[in-house]
Symmetry: D3
């Protein structure tokens, strides 16, 4: 268990296996800091990468939409690292400047109306309840 981020050159075979899979899956030749910090605990590195691969892999939503949702959550939570990494990911998947601006506009507006709904204590309409 390390107390520092783990560079590829210093990584154990167990950590390198995950690093290699990240690079192969993404078609890149570098590892970003998030994974190097998780690698301090190899079990967490393996677990989180496995989750990301499963959730963010091919599914019912297209890859760009999935990145936009990730950015929306990260902006709401004020996670600077995650905004930077997933905005880069969205750009790599084709996000335009206009789409980025629209994404932030929706995130801002949703954060506003969330508080208005809460502040006025609006009850859920019967028509919105799944039956």
């Amino acid at each position: 268990m390390s107390n520092k981020p783990v560079e590829y050159a210093d990584a154990t075979p167990r950590v390198r296996a995950v690093y290699d899979d990240i690079m192969a899956t993404r078609g890149t030749d570098w590892i970003n800091n998030f994974w190097k910090h998780l690698a301090r605990d190899p079990a967490t590195l393996e677990r989180i990468w496995s989750n990301v691969k499963q959730v963010m892999g091919p599914g019912a939503l297209d890859p760009l939409t999935k990145e936009l949702i990730y950015v929306a959550v990260s902006v709401t939570n004020n996670c600077r690292y995650c905004i930077a990494s997933h905005t880069a990911g969205a750009r790599a998947k084709g996000m335009t400047e206009a789409q980025f601006a629209e994404l932030l506009a929706i995130v801002g507006l949703a954060n506003e109306t969330n508080r208005l709904a809460v502040g006025y204590d609006a009850p859920v309409d019967a028509r919105f309840v799944e039956t």
Copy 2:
């Protein structure tokens, strides 16, 4: 200025004009509770509807993606009303059960990795910085 939600039958012409525009824009024949509560302050009703119409109207992202982003923020903020209304909105725009499940999976995972990035204090990689 009212201290109760405003029903259509009791609304002033100013409030009715917004209600009518909401129903016409959405192709529906009813007003949900959020707007009835905002109508306690007609200036806020007009302002927020104008913002929603501008931000959520046709743009660079497709209508379903925009609703998914709205739900992602609302789940992160734990706004029960907003989750119910925008999930209904997403279903009306074609969201399938598989897409809903995938949306929640991404929202959950992003909330998890946001905290891991913060907890490990991972610095933003130079490659992620826009230049």
Copy 3:
């Protein structure tokens, strides 16, 4: 240490002393549920009441402004109990419907622009830094 809220009739002298001070300070003849739950742990009851009394008592800001700030935080955090109790407190100190609507409008807008500032990663202007 109790696992239930503590009614006045069942309270120990230690808890009653706090309840009596709450009612005397506020000029009321009842105790709201928040305090009855804190009373499960008398040390917490005493400590929190002492803090509230010190922070919310006469000071540099007028009593109504202090309640408005309390409501603003509670709406942002989505604490339904706290919104209800401090909105009642603000009304008792003279808050009008127009002021309540304006408060919620500011809270909503601040939550929106907070995310825009974060999403666009705007750096703090040098002029804003205290020197």
Copy 4:
């Protein structure tokens, strides 16, 4: 649509019109970074400025109280930019050091009692419900 903040010298007439109105409304001769980033998307710049002007302009609450509420939300959300800009705004409107300290004390306490109310699951008292 730009991918960089927009300086006045580089701004289109549409963006300059908003910048000019911001400076005229505030009686200042500079534009802070928040607006320069929003200006990457002129429609968002216009919309958010219009909202800020309407919500933060003369109304039912005095200008200083409105800024204090804005700071309270920004501290709760941990938005460093917004805390810096709205604290500067509050000081410009007369906020004293004692008022700033009291504001932060209330914000801190509200964040604490919000969690105590939630953790103990205190039900809303019937007397707090508007009827």
Copy 5:
């Protein structure tokens, strides 16, 4: 993919396998609602249960401490369901009333001092930086 929570009697073998493992691992004879809702998407059910089993299983921290940490996060996020389920889990692992009260006191205080640190913008002391 279901749009309703999945009862054991109606579950597919894939879902039942997870339910059975949950009950066997916990030594209980029932499934709580959280899992029944996740079961709408069997892949999410399997993934989250696998994560919970790995993270909350035997490790470097004792089982009660792990539950207390879970409750602390859930109270901060205002997740009523999670507070109820993990408080029950903590009691089952031996949490006393005094420990529960102390847990909530710490959670409340941390939420308070978090905002004071942010509001006063205290820089991280050099001595706190890992080297």
Copy 6:
């Protein structure tokens, strides 16, 4: 009332008394920045120190567990200062690297499942309600 952090050399006797008690209680010879900023308002300094001393002092939970809970809240709230100071505090009380990694894993997972419970709107099971 100061607008700057207060160094020991510049402190009034009232502030020094708190600083001395902090150092004596902790067995250290320095004051971290958090307290120097609070000292801008001596009443807040005294009040918060008194709360920290009471809540974080000997009680029903062991000192390391209390620090872990503090870190869990601080990570969830994204308070960088508080994460740094309380992680240092936890290490001083014996937290190992493996415990730190496990703490962050739980915090991340709880933030994920909190949103899944909210997104699926799982109702609290009757068995979880205290009676």
